[in-house]
């Protein structure tokens, strides 16, 4: 459904250009979950933003094509693109606080997005919003929906972002490090939720994460990026078991270095 071809993005400043994304190509099939992994600063978020044409100046997409069912999103008129964003593609941004509006309650924001994209009435949209909060395991969702974002904990805000993205029932979900603020039990439930939604609605997911453990549990394929370039791509099992790139191997080694034997012993 999605075909990214030779995508390049550059941040320009005082005659200095940083190539954050350099000739990146990958594809995504219907109903597929694709992981994007790579070091901090390697260009993962920039790729995600570029797919939705959300790169802000001084950033600029310097080349490439992004086909969604045959249509190039990078050439689409802005008015049309706005309809695609939210309705067909939705995104969980890496930074939950800046993407939530501080002056509206959490429930209002989710309900608003449901009303806009799915044409529900006010009351229905509100009860859907509360259901979505429940789905992402917010306790006492009925009363908590009336809280403002600053009254939520870091992980609760992150779950609001997920609820909002899922509420639109997109065909493609782009999730940028969506569970970094969640404890292991809730993280596991969110990953299960993604798998369940993917199976039920056949949506495609691009999942950006630095955790190979999550990528292994969730994704079918993985793209590993470094300094804006694709180092390797392939089936998750294949890449994790027999990485072809030294860079991937280095990342995997780091995981084993940190993973305390303690925990492994408890588990086995």
């Amino acid at each position: 459904m999605l075909e990214v071809k030779e995508l390049s993005v550059q941040y320009e400043k005082e005659n200095l250009a940083v190539k954050a994304v350099d000739n990146v190509s990958f594809g995504l099939a219907n109903g597929e979950i694709l992981g994007i992994a790579g070091e901090s600063g390697s260009g993962k978020s920039t790729i995600a933003l570029a797919l939705m044409r959300l790169i802000q100046p001084p950033g600029r997409i310097t080349g490439g094509e992004v086909f969604l069912d045959g249509q190039d999103l990078l050439k689409m008129p802005e008015a049309e693109l706005i309809k695609v964003r939210g309705a067909r593609i939705s995104m969980v941004f890496q930074d939950p606080f800046t993407s939530l509006n501080p002056v509206f309650t959490v429930g209002e924001q989710i309900a608003e997005s449901i009303r806009l994209h799915q044409g529900f009435g006010r009351k229905e949209a509100w009860s859907r919003a509360v259901e979505m909060l429940d789905l992402v395991r917010i306790k006492d969702p009925g009363s908590r929906s009336k809280d403002y974002p600053h009254q939520f904990s870091g992980g609760m805000r992150q779950r609001v972002m997920i609820a909002m993205a899922l509420a639109c029932q997109p065909e493609l979900l782009i999730a940028d490090e969506p569970t970094t603020a969640l404890d292991a039990t809730i993280q596991a439930e969110i990953v299960r939720l993604f798998l369940q939604i993917q199976a039920e609605f056949k949506i495609s997911i691009i999942y950006i994460s630095h955790s190979f453990g999550i990528i292994k549990a969730l994704c079918h394929r993985v793209v590993v990026v470094n300094q804006g370039r694709v180092m390797e791509a392939g089936g998750v099992g294949e890449v994790l078991a027999r990485p072809r790139s030294g860079y991937t191997q280095k990342l995997l080694d780091a995981v084993t270095a940190l993973n305390p034997r303690l925990i492994k012993e408890v588990k086995t």
């Binding site: 941040y11 400043k13 992994a37 790579g38 070091e39 901090s40 600063g41 390697s42 978020s45 890496q94 930074d95 606080f97 800046t98 917010i138 306790k139 009363s143 009254q151 939520f152 904990s153 870091g154 992980g155 609760m156 992150q158 779950r159 490090e177 970094t180 603020a181 969640l182 404890d183 292991a184 039990t185 809730i186 993280q187 596991a188 990953v191 630095h210 955790s211 190979f212 453990g213 999550i214 292994k216 549990a217 994790l240 280095k250 990342l251 995997l252 780091a254 995981v255 084993t256 270095a257 940190l258 993973n259 305390p260 303690l262 925990i263 492994k264 012993e265 408890v266 588990k267």
Partner: protein, 234 residues
């Protein structure tokens, strides 16, 4: 080891929400206390109370050998975006506490410590990736050479190899400066790497507390066991 901070029967309510329902916790000089627990269980609230950024509804927090909390206790906030002023360049943001407290300005050294290039000082926060912003928060907190440092999910947005570098650095700094850490994280391998003792929180209470080995290898509480089992590993 002497007690540096003692939290006694602390309750914190926000309107109808009870964020903390009676916390008792001692932090000893030189130790790293790992704090894990469910999202929304009150970890960040406890951190803000200890720093006196908010007041408890009831209960007390006592400090031993800390006279200037603002200077001697520092925090790396969970949300780097909100703690960095978007209009202030990274270099100035790191320098600010040093300027206020009139100590030598070492922005370059601090950036190097957290593995960021020196020219990042010229950048604005939005010009950084998520993990890079997190590292700026760490540099800023270390600038005053605090006695006590709270790290609230300081490496959650970092890839594992950068995580390892930052954790090693934190361990080194703690060793060199004799710091005491309260380290909040949800990733048990991260917690296990740095902590001496671990406290597990759920619904505003500490439900389990013990040495790292006790809690990770022989957890008593069902919730702690579930946390360990739910971790995604390779």
């Amino acid at each position: 080891m002497p007690e540096l901070i003692k939290v006694t029967d602390v309750v914190k309510r926000f309107g109808r929400v009870t964020a903390l329902g009676g916390i008792c916790l001692s932090l000893f000089e030189g130790e790293t206390m790992g704090l894990v627990g469910e999202s929304g269980s009150g970890k960040s609230t406890l951190a803000r109370l200890i720093l006196k950024l908010i007041e408890p509804t009831s209960g007390t927090i006592d400090y031993n050998g800390i006279t200037n909390i603002r200077r001697e206790c520092q925090i790396v906030f969970q949300d780097p975006q909100t703690s960095l002023n978007p209009r202030i360049r990274v270099g100035e943001a790191i320098a600010e506490p040093m300027v206020i407290h009139k100590i030598e300005n070492k922005v370059g050294e601090l950036l190097e410590m957290v593995k960021l290039p020196a020219n990042y000082a010229e950048r604005y926060p939005h010009e950084l990736s998520g993990g890079e912003r997190q590292r700026v928060g760490i540099a800023r907190a270390l600038s005053l050479k605090p006695k006590f440092l709270i790290l609230d999910e300081p490496v959650s947005s970092l890839d594992v190899s950068t995580q390892v570098e930052i954790l090693k650095l934190l361990k080194q700094i703690k060793h060199d400066l004799g710091l005491t850490y309260l380290f909040i994280a949800h990733d048990l391998s991260v917690i296990g790497y740095l902590s001496d003792r671990i406290a597990v929180m759920r619904e505003g209470r500490i439900i389990e507390l013990g040495s790292k080995e006790e809690v990770l290898a022989a957890p008593k509480e069902a919730y702690t066991k579930k946390l360990i089992e739910s971790s995604f590993t390779l």
